[in-house]
């Protein structure tokens, strides 16, 4: 099969051998779980349990918030001992509201309604169940899966792509999942296919995962409309837009959704979670996470409960050989710097990396020499040097015009830059400034609306008062004339 690959991209060293060859181990239940009420794209879930409540594994503890949101379930059985802010798995170091559970280590399961064969149920019922069970995109973006399923309504979906790219260095969680539990992934993929009525399923795997390819091939054997597509290894293959381009040879237009091309993309982890939800009645309360990096003694993949402190995960993997120079959630290219090892594991975390000083780039940056390497590396065909220049001079509108809004923040440009310019940092900064400006603008508009509404209301009230007064004096006059 020939591919017209995406443009640009880089080949970072994989370091996948650190964790790829060990079986997924099940992490023992920690004494306390810190379950954030927001682990997904959108608004915070609303806690429905109180301090002192006993909860069971899979019991709903936070219902979905308003708008885009997802519910949160108890990862194991125990007692709710607090609902308070804890340090968030976020580079800001801010805190986020979490339900803190003291576990009883009995792992008692909350009784769920009886299971019905999902393949005979209608797609709407299934999509609702996916929403109710808190399934979100496991590739990192944590977009609520049900919203994506519903977005397919009205579009003819030709291809459902199951993303087994996992192009970030160090990470092997999807690789191990595909090797060890291929049948669950395939069933999950077929369930998603059933819900969105996709004609075919393409499970896309990078060619550096030989064992995963073999296992998945074996598992898809019985199904004619489920194919394994092997693609070359190149970062950022696992990015939705690039993968769609490689598989369908069509590029998602700027500002459009992939559904318009008749394509929908899910991560293998999401397919796995969907199967667990629909076939086993299991809400999303745990995930496979790669714990790796030079500072970790025994790098491996573990199946851990959501809300587990990162320090507990690291301890389980033998601890650290030295104080890590950087702690990351996610991969080294796009992952988030963690403010502390106390931060809890969240649904979207594919990896926890403790890196040593030699593994991270700490070279001072020097001025741009306009070599253009970032331009050839950019998978979106943008001009990173120009965008960064504009961001630096705080000309955000023109940075946006130069393609900042299409930038996927993959980091390929910063990776190749010989001057070590923190290009992605500039883009993050500019994107942040732009969204802050938009938020402030919205707020001012809202204020205008409110003050206008108040003015109208006050006028109405004054008019009603005047009318009442007039009516009263009229009545009085009339009664005065009749008594005369």
């Amino acid at each position: 099969m020939l591919f017209s690959l995406f443009r640009g991209g880089v080949h970072p060293d994989g370091f996948k051998e650190l964790s790829a060859n060990r079986r997924i181990s099940k992490l023992p239940i920690p004494g306390r779980l810190y379950v954030p009420l927001r682990q997904h794209a959108g608004t915070e879930a609303i806690a429905i349990v109180n301090v002192g409540d006993q909860v069971l594994k899979g019991q709903l503890i936070g219902r979905a918030g308003r708008g885009l949101s997802a519910p949160i379930h108890a990862p194991t059985s125990g007692e709710v001992i607090a609902i308070e802010p804890v340090v968030a798995a976020h580079p800001s170091g801010y805190s986020t509201k979490a339900v803190i559970i003291r576990t009883d280590r009995r792992d008692q399961v909350y009784p769920q309604p009886a299971l019905v064969d999902p393949f005979i149920q209608d797609p709407e019922t299934l999509a609702k169940k996916v929403a109710d069970y808190g399934i979100v995109g496991m590739g990192g973006a944590t977009f609520p899966s049900a919203v994506k399923l519903q977005s397919a309504v009205g579009y003819e979906i030709n291809t459902l792509i199951i993303n087994g790219g996992e192009c970030e260095p160090y990470l092997t969680a999807d690789d191990r999942l595909m090797r060890e539990r291929p049948d669950t992934i395939v069933t999950g993929s077929r369930l998603i296919q059933h819900i969105i009525k996709a004609k075919r399923v393409a499970i896309v795997i990078e060619d550096n995962k030989k064992y995963a390819i073999a296992a998945m091939r074996n598992a898809t054997e019985p199904y004619r409309d489920v194919d394994i597509v092997v693609v070359p290894t190149r970062y950022p293959m696992g990015s939705a837009k690039q993968m769609i381009q490689v598989v369908t040879k069509k590029e998602v237009p700027a500002g459009k959704l992939s559904t318009e091309l008749g394509v929908l993309l899910y991560n293998v982890g999401t397919a796995y979670a969907t199967c667990e939800c629909l076939m086993e009645n299991k809400p999303l309360v745990s995930r496979i996470v790669t714990v790796s990096g030079g500072a970790i003694k025994q790098p491996q993949n573990v199946e851990a409960l959501v809300g587990t402190p990162l320090s507990y995960l690291i301890e389980h993997c033998g601890g650290t050989v030295e104080e890590p120079a950087r702690l990351l959630m996610g991969g080294p290219m796009m992952g988030l710097v963690m403010p502390s090892a106390d931060a809890p594991l969240i649904k979207g975390a594919g990896g926890v990396l403790a890196l040593q000083a030699h593994e991270i780039n700490q070279t001072e940056s020097s001025p741009c020499i306009r070599c253009g390497r970032c331009v050839s590396a950019c998978p979106m065909g943008l001009l990173p040097l120009e965008m960064a220049n504009r961001a630096r001079s705080q000309d955000f509108d023109s940075a946006s015009e130069f393609g900042l809004k299409d930038c996927i923040l993959c980091g390929s440009c910063a990776y190749v830059c010989p001057s070590h310019i923190p290009l992605v940092h500039y883009f993050q900064y500019a994107k942040g400034e732009i969204s802050q400006k938009n938020a402030a603008q919205k707020r001012t508009e809202y204020t205008r609306e409110l003050s206008e509404a108040r003015r109208v209301r006050q006028e109405k009230e004054a008019a009603a008062k005047a009318a009442a007064k007039a009516a009263k004096s009229k009545r009085r006059k009339r009664s005065a004339t009749t008594t005369d």
């Binding site: 800001s92 900064y429 400006k437 001012t444 809202y446 409110l450």
Partner: protein
């Protein structure tokens, strides 16, 4: 005959009056600065008076005339200052402006439910009823402080907006 004359008279009247109105519009035309209109339209319109002027229009006028800096509107914040500066073609430094917005918060321990604060609020951001503790809807509060002056119990504090993950973004890199 009568019908015809009525028609004629009305047509004539219409023409004459129309002409007169048109003339009056030209003769008595009040010139307003289009720039002033544009700037007024950008203002929050709460007439909160934090800028020191009677209302938003007066503040806009002063800014257009250059009598007051464009950074004078706290509810509008940096965004408004930058937009107005762009409109007026002047360059300003936003560093002196406070990024943090102070919002009103009712101390429930002291509130007697007198309703004076919510009557004073220009954005209806305070909710409550007679003899019920009042509360502030943070999303609607502009931090104008009108309620502070209205409260007889002095139970309203101005507190910084709570830090949310969404409001954080990467700072500008320190690099060449």
């Amino acid at each position: 005959m009568t019908a015809l004359s009525a028609l004629l008279v009305l047509t004539l009247m219409g023409l004459l009056l129309g002409f007169a109105l048109g003339l009056a519009a030209k003769v008595f035309h009040v010139e307003t600065d289009p720039l002033l209109d544009e700037v007024s339209a950008l203002m929050p319109g709460t007439q909160c008076g934090q800028c020191g002027y009677a209302g938003c229009n007066q503040a806009a006028e002063a800014m257009v005339k250059g009598e007051t800096p464009v950074t004078c509107c706290p509810p509008g914040g940096k965004t408004l200052a930058a937009t107005i500066a762009g409109k007026l073609g002047i360059s300003i430094s936003l560093d002196s402006m406070n990024d943090e917005l102070l919002l009103a918060r009712v101390n429930p321990g002291l509130c007697t439910g007198c309703t004076r604060c919510y009557k004073a609020c220009p954005t209806d951001a305070i909710v409550g009823a007679n003899k019920q503790i009042h509360g502030v809807i943070m999303a609607a509060c502009t931090g104008c402080g009108s309620c502070l002056a209205a409260c007889p119990e002095r139970c309203i504090d101005m507190v910084p907006e709570s830090k949310a993950l969404d409001s954080w973004h990467w700072p500008k890199p320190i690099a060449a």
